[in-house]
Amino acid sequence: MNWIPNIFRRSKIYDDLSEEMRLHIEERAEQLMGEGMSPAEAKQEARKAFGNRTVLEERSREVWQWPTLESMWGDVRFALRQLRRSPGFAIAAVLTLSLAIGANAVVFGVMDGLILRPLNLPQAESLYGTQYGSNPGWQSYPNYVDLRDRNRSFEDLAAFNFAFVGLDTGNDPSLATGYAATGNYFDVLRVEPYLGRFFHSSDERGPNSAPYIVLTWAYWHSRFHDDRGVVGRVVQLNKHPFTVIGVAPNGFLGTILFVSPDFIMPIVNEGQMTGGNPLSERGNSHALFETIGHLKPGVSQAQALADLNSVGAYLQKSYPKEFDNRSSSLARQNGFTSFGAAVRGFVAGLTLLAGLILLAACANLGGLFAARAADRSREIALRLALGSSRKRIVRQLLIEAVLVSLAGGAVGLAGSVALLRKLSTWQPIGGAPVHVPVSPDAKLYLVALVLALVSALLFGIVPVRQVLRANPYEVVKAGSSARLGHWLTVRDVLLVAQIAICAVLVTASMVALRGLARSLHSSFGFEPRNTILIGTNLGIAGYSGDEVLPMQKRFIEAMKTIPGVEKVGLVNNYPPLVYASASRQIVFTDETRDLSQSNVAVMPYSYQVSPDYFEAAGTSLLAGRSFRWRDDKGSASVAVVNMEFARRMFGSVSGAVGRFVRMQDGTRVEVVGVVEDGKYLSLNEDPQPALFLSSLQSPFGSAYVVVRSHRDPQELAAALRGKVRELDAGLPVTTDPWNDLLAVALFPSRMATVSLGVLGVMGAMLSITGIFGMAAYSVSKRLRELGIRVALGAKRKEVLQAALGRPLRLLAIGSVAGLVLGVLASRVLAYIVYQATPRDPLVLAGVVLAMLVLGLVATWIPAQRALAVEPMILLREE
């Protein structure tokens, strides 16, 4: 280990060496003088005889070093010094790169949290969900039982549904969201309880036989305050007693990625919550939201799918009334169900755009570095002449690039981690336990590091070619003003690339904005402004069966008495576009006798509404009448349909009134009115048929009361709540303006617009800096030439043309290229924004305008500088 003391003695060694060499040369010189040379000649001859002292000294020193590591460390220190000398450049470069890397890191974090990372469950890779037909999820309980018992591919199948209940721990009822799951749910998922125990299939002994609930960790923490004695406590769910039997472990978030349940109860007791027995009907396809299970080892996805389809075929043969042989599909259970494809498409599109931003930033920095290298060409030439190898210089330039990109990467990473943390606590839809489960982890840091290094290579390479080709003698003689001779230099190409990318991003933002505007202004079929929705659940308050209707009538009458209220109506379950929960009905033509699935005429979205609902919701009546209080259980069944239904079923609006249709259970229903079309499930759907039944003929405890009024919403909400308390103090209600509850439906478009908008702004900022950099550089290099032009009598316009002509021309080329690319990429954009068509003339005009403005802004300062040129001052300087 003889190198350890050497390190400490090294500086002494170097000093000794220098001294020795100096003395050697002196001695030689003395000898030559003794032979008769003049002192000056002798010194020169001695030095020549010695050889290249610098190189020799360096090689002697190298004996004591780890050469590569040490010289690299020297390069690092040199690079740091260089960067410190031009702080503006360094800061601009680091900021640009941090923006780009930060954006990519955020997008990767989102992708990792939503798509790459499987559910937080053991062996999640073999966990699959089944989907029957085109209605995502949603199966009936008897179907599930048959599927579970008859399949040969799954180890076991579990299923669950959502349960929205009022949970009362003692004397504070509040709304809670949970799952109602089959007995084998926890066993299928292979989860162990944290406290107490879970329920199992053995606990299921018929309807309402298992009044147990399991709390999730977060709910146990927030509502029960980590009370370890919670096991065995009895709580009230919708006024029915349930025993808490256990707490799920921390990190168990259920099987849907966006929604985390508060509790899990056995599905056999769901009947107590909703009234009736939803599990018994084979045709009730809303009994179960999802079925999941682990595939047996060795069973492939294709085999399982074939198996499922054969079970489906069996079911269709045995129960033709309730079944249509729509094929099953199998999807890896990663928490997404139906909107998985849309989310994946969106994230993929975002990743692409973020990658483009990084490329633009690299192009930007490449141009900056190339400019810097050109400025330092004299220094490089001198170094080459003094004996440095080109490899060494290239290495030093690359190290400089790596330092900048590591700094930029670190800053970008810090920003992205902060942003991702904030994102994971964000509840986009207040009230619903929806969140975006992203959490920064080691993969994120690794990705940021890789991106930083790759970018460093990309933009560090740019000046290298220049350096390798430089001929030191010419550069030293002529100075760095030697032109490179090409019409189009590398930096020009980079700038064009940057502008093109920016134009693509700006196009994407414009497209997103147009798409959003269009979807917002399309008709909803109701007027969400000036309405408040009162959410009620009479089941929670203990009303059942026959008590529901009279209470609802009293409720509506009471609300009407509040001053300022114009119209009041009621709709069962959820109104259109709220919480994406629309459900469909099966409708046959009047003449159909064989009510089997193959004869279905239309499958409209169906709602049960009270009289005055359409007036309260602002849905216009096109023909016939709406419901009256006389349309109750004793009278004939009536319905109101929308225009699309009328068109599909009867061919026209006028032809619909007075006609009959047949429901799934055979009842004949008369169409008494036609209303306008609207949106029911999502903003992006094509026109859908809708059927409205009278809520008086099918009462339901959970309903929304629609109150239309121009009064101030806060006051109105307070008045409404006061009135409700007068009616029944134990009835919990929610009051929200309809616009607020549309948040779920609007959420995807809003997200898309925000993301694209942000990316577009970043692209614009990058291009501004790029054009500004090139314009400023070109002006500053040509100040002398401009001064001469001015002195020779050039006018302002000509000066500007000379100074800025090139950057602006490049801007134009880049914009056109980007616009064309953006139009071609409309398919990619369509993933992100529904109905995105860049061929919209408004969009094209917008992009052109935006690029023009960008160009003006970016070249403003250099233009001023060019115009302010004072020939006399310039010509005096060098």
Binding site: E20, H24, E27, R28, N52, E57, R59, V63
Partner: protein, 123 residues
């Protein structure tokens, strides 16, 4: 690689093989400790000026020998009252030198045999 200055001869000069310079330095120091300048003079004289070594190229070799502890160096004053750093061969340096010389002579004999069998030196 120590660089040859081109002497006024027709024969093309050749680079010294690696280790040759170190070997010659060690041999010179074996005879007598010396400082850098004196070493250069010594080598040039003893080779009948057949070897023209660039003076400075000695120093990397000296540093290598120093690091390998085959020589040791000391500051002192020369006979002509100059400040000089004198090098001295160490015991391990002597051993190393003997090894190098014998393997060099082997190589030399092998080459000579190949080039001209009759002129092989008797051993």
């Amino acid at each position: 690689m120590p660089v040859w200055k081109r002497p006024m001869r027709e024969t093309t000069p050749r680079d010294l093989f690696p280790g040759a310079l170190e070997m010659m330095i060690l041999e010179s120091l074996r005879r007598q400790p010396a400082h850098g300048y004196a070493l250069v003079q010594h080598i040039q004289q003893r080779s009948n000026n057949l070897l023209q070594v660039e003076e400075g190229s000695l120093y990397p070799a000296l540093q290598r020998l120093l690091r390998a502890k085959l020589v040791k160096a000391e500051w002192g004053v020369s006979a002509t009252n100059r400040k000089v750093r004198t090098y001295q061969i160490t015991a391990s340096g002597l051993r190393h030198l003997e090894q190098q010389i014998s393997s060099f002579e082997q190589m030399f004999e092998g080459i000579a045999l190949v080039l001209n069998p009759k002129k092989a030196t008797a051993n």
